[in-house]
């Protein structure tokens, strides 16, 4: 007789999920909350930068340049009535992030030589912010140059793949990576430890079921949930945040499935160690959330980490998945360009799954 144990377990698990508001809450609410958090609150673009302008030129031409800064939407321009040597004071008091100095001869020089200088001072105590501010300024001045046809020199630095430095391009793939690993690892480890706690696992283990049947049956419904979450975030990212999708969708799905498998294996591994739901939750969260946020390249570039941490990133599945989906979404990478991270993910999944199934004992402890 063909084994129908796996469908039996899947059906039961599906019923648990549909009837347990907590699971559904995690699956539905978590991506929404995170999207709002990253999309709006933790937006990595900076707006309303406070800029102090010292305009010694006092001409329509110089005011036009200042207008361009405020019109860009990034700068809040004001003219502090202070002597020039108090600029340091301005930065110390954190009243301004940037200072623009327009020299006395600005307009005349521009007219005569078609070329002039302005001075820009940026508070670089937050280097990330400083980089952003500089690029904003460069783009404002660049646009000014082009419009006024004064300078043939294009000062814009060419930033590849994300020309507007839009942070949504980075956080949407990162969010997919994070939600997937959390949903998959957290929910599977909880689903299994819950049965340990309730004693229902004992009742299953006394049947002739095999460990792989329990594992596969329990995990499959969560794969479906995780994939739905991925599609949800992707859709929101593309429609609301205008994130592009340049590569192949089936490729994206395939890699996402692989990544979910890696995360589920991690969840299984946790459940073979943890005896209670709380322990499982703590373990799953620390093993997924922290590394995925800190060590995957989601927020902090791996190249700028200390060497020791860089080594550690090699065992973070999200690192590879991020390479892959950023590659697919932003650059339109194809399979052959993604073989290396794919191989890494496959190896990690196989190892974790093998250990988990082996450790998943059919006996009680």
């Amino acid at each position: 007789m063909k084994s129908n144990r796996i469908p039996a377990i899947m059906l039961k698990e599906a019923n648990h999920i549909l009837r347990d508001p907590r699971t559904l809450l995690i699956v539905v609410l978590m991506p929404i909350v995170q999207l709002i958090m990253f999309g709006y609150a933790m937006n990595m673009e900076i707006r309303n930068l406070r800029m102090a302008v010292f305009d010694y030129s006092h001409t329509p031409t110089s005011r036009e340049l200042v207008n361009d800064f405020s019109a860009s939407g990034k700068f809040q321009v004001s003219y502090p009535n202070l002597p020039e040597d108090s600029i340091n004071q301005l930065f110390f008091s954190r009243k301004y992030e940037a200072v623009l100095l327009i020299p006395k001869g600005f307009a005349e020089e521009l007219n005569r030589l078609k070329k002039t200088d302005v001075q820009l001072l940026i508070d670089a105590s937050d280097p990330n912010a400083a980089t952003l501010i500089r690029s904003y300024c460069t783009s404002v001045i660049g646009r000014y140059n082009q419009l006024e046809k004064y300078s043939p020199i294009d000062v814009r630095t060419n930033i590849l793949y994300n020309p507007d430095m839009r942070s949504a391009y980075f956080f949407v793939p990162g969010l997919i990576a994070m939600i997937l690993v959390m949903v998959s690892a957290l929910l599977t480890s909880i689903a299994i430890t819950r049965e340990k706690e309730l004693g229902t696992l004992e009742q299953i283990l006394v049947s002739p079921i095999r460990s792989h049947e329990i594992v596969i049956g329990k995990v499959l419904p969560y794969i479906i949930l995780a994939l739905l979450d991925a599609l949800f975030i992707l859709t929101v990212g593309m429609t609301l945040f205008g994130v592009p999708f340049r590569g192949s969708f089936p490729l994206f799905l395939g890699f996402t499935l692989l990544y979910v498998l890696a995360a589920l294996s991690l969840g299984l591994l946790v459940s073979t160690v943890a005896q209670t739901q709380q322990v499982a939750m703590m373990m799953a969260l620390t093993m997924t959330m922290l590394p995925t946020i800190m060590l995957s390249g989601f927020i902090f570039p791996i190249a700028s980490m200390p060497k020791l941490l860089q080594l550690f990133t090699y065992i973070v599945p999200a690192k590879y998945y991020l390479q892959i989906i950023r590659g697919i979404m932003l650059k339109g990478n194809n399979l052959t360009q993604l073989l290396q991270p794919m191989l890494a993910l496959i190896i990690m999944t196989v190892v974790m799954l093998a250990v988990a199934v082996k450790r998943f004992s059919l006996r009680l402890k």
Partner: protein, 244 residues
Amino acid sequence: MPDNSKSLMIQTTDLTKRFGRFTAVDKLNLSIEKGEIFGFLGANGAGKTTAIRMLCGLLKPTSGTAVVADCDITHQSEQLKTRIGYMSQRFALYEDLTVKENVLFYSGIYQVETSRALSVAEELLSEMGIDLGSKALTSSLPLGFKQRLALTCSLLHDPRLLFLDEPTSGVDPQARRAFWNVINRLAEKGKTVIVTTHFMDEAEYCHRVVIMQEGKAIALGEPAVLKNEHSVPNMQQLFLKLVS
């Protein structure tokens, strides 16, 4: 005793289970025949559940051996599991599933045809007035009903040997009576039933009992014989006399 072992359902030899340095079951030697209703008696923590879990293949013995339903419990637990039914001490079905969903789940993992499982369930549940078609979740059932459902799910695959760990704890006398009627019917059909209980009146219904204390068997035999030997009127007094 090869002759004798043909009629044996369970035979244990110095069966022992230690958790760390604590010995939960200490050199248990039992021979239980086919068709017997056999009782495990003992105070809390005497080792009844631990002994039964070993006999079901759920726990690996620390030392000693046991042959249950012609299977070695250490090496043939997979085969053993197809031949036994087990109802754990805690209610261990799914509270968030309906009665029917629970039955179908267990018929699935025991590979029993749906129609057969449903007819077995119908037979065992209808006398209690439990409706298989009800949409109510198991959590809403009274404990007596839940225990009957747990028994049902452990019988779907028609096991020859049934382990019931405190099947009647916490239910009213009437439900207990009804439950024992089912146990008797099962024994009449030739099934071997192993029961643990705290109720000494239930001990009287067993063909034979073992009384355990701190992991050791301190008395073994037919209730009538044991009462005679110790010249006490009932099992309650026998128990108190032996364990004090």
